[in-house]
Symmetry: C2
Subunit: 315 residues, 2 copies
């Protein structure tokens, strides 16, 4: 089968071996996939991953339980052991032995086929399109903010780093009724936020230490430093991205201002599907370009340019 | 009056001006005071503070409201404006315009007299000695952990950096019924913890990513790094100290393991007084030496030696 492989060099492989599903797995024929910043970082060396890239996708079940064959599904990316303490506590996304599709120890979805445990799969409702379904994984990650932290409708919530993930986070947070503000660097970002009725401010326009919650989607040391200047005493900073290297952090300010810093990763697929099915979140506006799998190298290159939003691969 | 002054040079001043209490203040005659790590850090340049040092004390009210004169009191260190949003929310310790006794913009307690707002004062019960009362401020800071975070009696809680503050934190946390373990570097620390029925482990003996809560009292970048290796996924790290400079921090691990980092500062004096009056916390064992105010330079020097616990000044 064809697949986008990274083993130090990025290339489209035409004779990648077909996955062989285990007893608890289904064989998925990938329909469409999305390029995430994590994919771009892996190509730059993050996580030391080698193998087939990709973890945002919608697929059709090609083989597996009868009730699923032929149905459209999305798949959770954490392949858990089902037996460790974290799995038993109902948090398989933090499984002690987990592998992660296209990120850690498990082949990815930028390929014609992928085998995945049946328990990772969620049926896609008919009124959710393939384009929308590709966003279920990052939308679930945005929803994880609400899993980690109660957002009050009285609060001001700033979203730092409004790109692929930040726009989803802003939309999800807006549904809480809170006063959500995207912190922008370009007018194009502000215009996009305005489409969803979300306000935008340049960082220079914002008062210091006044926001109850700051969601940092920048993945940059400077982003976290900005978050620390914007969050109020006893406020919360949510980390929605990984960071390159070991950023220097003003831990003293965290202690003295009694800030809460909360890491946030994968989230609930069923909730993401409900929001898409209910038309409560717009993801299609974020799609910038589409490429075939054979043109995946160009797709990755384009997706890596500054300010580019979602690039899809049609498999 | 006599006072221990720091203005780049540390010295006992014999003709420091007497404080002049404002209308809402009482004049306190200091009886006894304790040397805290923050005092030692200020002498090394932290917080750019100059003035009279000291913020842990017990005093007698020399002038002020009639009901208080002649009574023993302890005093909260945050001198708040009473009008800002944080004060109105009942969090004067995070007052936007706050000054802090002996730390920031307000004279300290290593002196014969101190003027302090009456609302900062708490009467000391008769069965709490002067020695014990000196510990109310750091004990309240330890209790702030429980203000910032619900500790479940099912949890394992590690205390990193068992020194002056860490021993108080361990004792306070033990009262929750949780499995509290002091992470030690020396057998002397383990023996002290054993006196209170608290277990001790060397860090090499501890499994990685297994503790629900890690309280970092080290104030060191390496301490925070240790905390990150010891805390379980979705666990909590409490920052109980300030850190020198800007430590390098593995923020990606915070994000991926969904860790909560919670800064913690000053705490509730009434609760600290209740625990001391009830005999639920032992502070006297932590007292290593006593000095008169005239010998404060030697006291500061001795307190700065590695592993030294509480040094008192008898004023």
């Amino acid at each position: 089968m064809r697949a986008l492989l990274f083993d130090g060099i990025l290339r489209v492989e035409h004779n990648a071996p077909m996955p062989e599903p285990l007893a608890d797995q289904a064989l998925l024929k990938i329909r469409r996939a999305g390029i995430c910043n994590t994919d771009l970082e892996i190509v730059r060396g993050y996580a030391n991953y080698t193998g087939i890239l990709g973890h945002e996708f919608v697929a059709e079940v090609a083989a597996g339980p009868e009730a699923l064959v032929g149905r459209r599904v999305v798949g959770e990316i954490n392949v858990s052991d089902g037996t460790c303490d974290m799995c038993r506590r109902g948090i398989p996304s933090q499984c002690r032995q987990r592998r992660a599709v296209g990120i850690h120890g498990y082949p990815g979805a930028f390929a014609e086929y992928l085998a995945l445990p049946v328990r990772n799969l969620h049926l896609v409702p008919d009124n959710v399109s393939d384009d929308q379904a590709v966003f279920v994984e990052p939308l679930a990650a945005a929803l994880n903010i609400l899993e980690m932290l109660a957002i009050s409708p009285r609060e001001r919530v700033l979203v730092l780093g409004v790109g692929k993930l930040g726009f989803l986070a802003a939309q999800v947070l807006r549904l809480s009724g809170a006063d959500v503000v995207g912190v922008v660097r370009r007018d194009t970002q502000a215009r996009l936020l305005a489409q969803w009725g979300i306000s935008a401010r340049y960082i220079e326009e914002l008062p210091k230490q006044q926001a109850q919650v700051v969601v940092d989607c920048t993945g940059l040391a400077e982003g976290f430093a900005d978050a620390l200047t914007l969050v109020e005493p006893r406020g919360t900073i949510v980390l929605k991205s990984t960071y390159q290297g070991l950023p220097q952090v003003d831990l003293s300010r965290v202690a003295v201002n009694e800030i809460r810093v909360i890491g946030s990763r994968c989230g609930p697929f069923p909730a993401a599907l409900r929001l898409l099915a209910g038309g409560l979140v717009d993801v299609e506006t974020l799609i910038e370009r589409r490429y075939g799998l054979d043109d995946a190298l160009q797709a990755i290159e384009y997706a890596g340019q500054k300010g580019v939003l979602k690039v899809l691969l049609e498999i």
